[in-house]
């Protein structure tokens, strides 16, 4: 693994991510990751809360109009997340919490696709099982945010370069 981390960390993009003093390198990509977080977790949580019963007068099926913005946030974070990972592969991949975050994201995406398929294709009154999916969806996004935030405080090795 050490050689693999070194190979990434000596690549031009990885060096640029870590060492460039441009606002568009690490700070800008981290900021994009935060904006994407607000869009994907925020809009998905609102849809989940609507499924669970808030805003009963809002036609649920029409909330699908906001899905493109939500998925834009998701892909923004997939791309910015990979860029951050290329910048600091050792930091992320040697921290068990990073894998916890990935599992939360994977479950959140499976739940979201399941909710889109079950709730948003044919209009019908919300059933109990769909409310359960929505509740788990909120928990998974909360878990993603919490584990992501704690990554900055729990890593054991920043890079493989100094060894």
């Amino acid at each position: 693994m050490h050689e693999f981390f070194l190979w990434i960390e000596t690549s031009a993009f990885s060096v640029w991510m870590r060492e460039s003093l441009s606002m568009f390198a690490f700070p800008g990509i981290l900021t994009a990751h935060t904006i994407g977080m607000g869009l994907v977790a925020g809009i998905n949580a609102l849809v989940d809360l609507r499924i669970m019963g808030i805003l009963p007068q809002v036609p649920l099926i029409e909330m699908r109009r906001f899905f493109p913005v939500m998925w834009f946030g998701f892909w923004l974070n997939a791309i910015s997340g990979v860029a951050l990972l290329i910048g600091y592969p050792t930091k992320a991949l040697t921290n068990p919490l990073f894998y916890v975050k990935l599992v939360f994201i994977a479950i959140a995406v499976i739940l979201l696709r399941s909710i889109q398929r079950r709730v948003f294709t044919v209009e019908h009154p919300v059933v109990e099982s769909e409310k359960r999916l929505a509740a788990w969806s909120i928990l998974c996004w909360a878990g993603t945010i919490a584990s992501g935030r704690f990554l900055a405080y729990t890593y054991s090795k920043l890079t493989s370069l100094d060894h």
């Binding site: 606002m23 900021t31 925020g42 805003l55 809002v58 909330m63 919490a146």
Partner: protein, 181 residues
């Protein structure tokens, strides 16, 4: 301003128990996590309402969607509370930070925008039947709100790259930043 900033730093620092609490092992990351929950709730609620004002999801009755606002206020209150904790724990890191000044500026414009919405636009759009396009004034207010909250996120996230002290001497300004040690 030269007398106001040191006074503000001293006043905020006088909340000693908050500073002590925030320097315990996990307090800071826990508050940051709650700050991110609040951010997401605010964007999910206020951002979706802004998108509706701009013209997305026009079949949703505006009056019905307006009930989402208390959820956005919930996120705002959570973030004011956790934000105040950061501020009282390390006041000089914010009061002298240019990124924090921009964050406050964006929040003030967002606040004035809310006033403009409720004093002029809300009464015009509240009873609009679903499917009818919102007037230009509503679209503008929605766009300003969305831009200001994204501006708040940008300035908030960049705070750490414009820390006073180390970064003042580095003589770097946008689009360059300094790396605090």
């Amino acid at each position: 301003m030269e007398a106001f900033q040191p006074w503000l730093v001293d006043t905020l620092r006088s909340a000693k128990p908050v500073g002590q609490l925030m320097r315990t092992h996990w307090a800071w990351p826990i508050c940051e996590t709650l700050h991110f929950f609040g951010l997401s709730l605010l964007i999910g609620a206020i951002g979706v309402f802004d998108l509706r004002l701009i013209g997305i999801g026009q079949k949703i009755p505006l009056a019905a969607l307006h009930r989402v606002i208390p959820w956005g206020i919930g996120g705002y209150v959570l973030n004011m509370a956790t934000g105040a904790m950061f501020l009282m724990a390390e006041p000089d890191q914010y009061i002298y930070n240019p990124s924090f000044h921009f964050k406050i500026l964006f929040m003030m414009v967002a606040g004035l925008n809310v006033l403009a919405f409720y004093s002029v636009v809300f009464w015009k759009v509240r009873a609009l039947p679903p499917g009818v396009s919102t007037p230009l004034s509503a679209k503008l207010i929605g766009a300003v709100s969305l831009m200001m909250w994204i501006g708040v996120i940008i300035a908030g996230r960049l705070l750490t790259f414009y820390r006073p002290g180390v970064c003042m001497t580095a003589a770097l300004s946008f689009p360059f930043y300094c790396v605090p040690q």
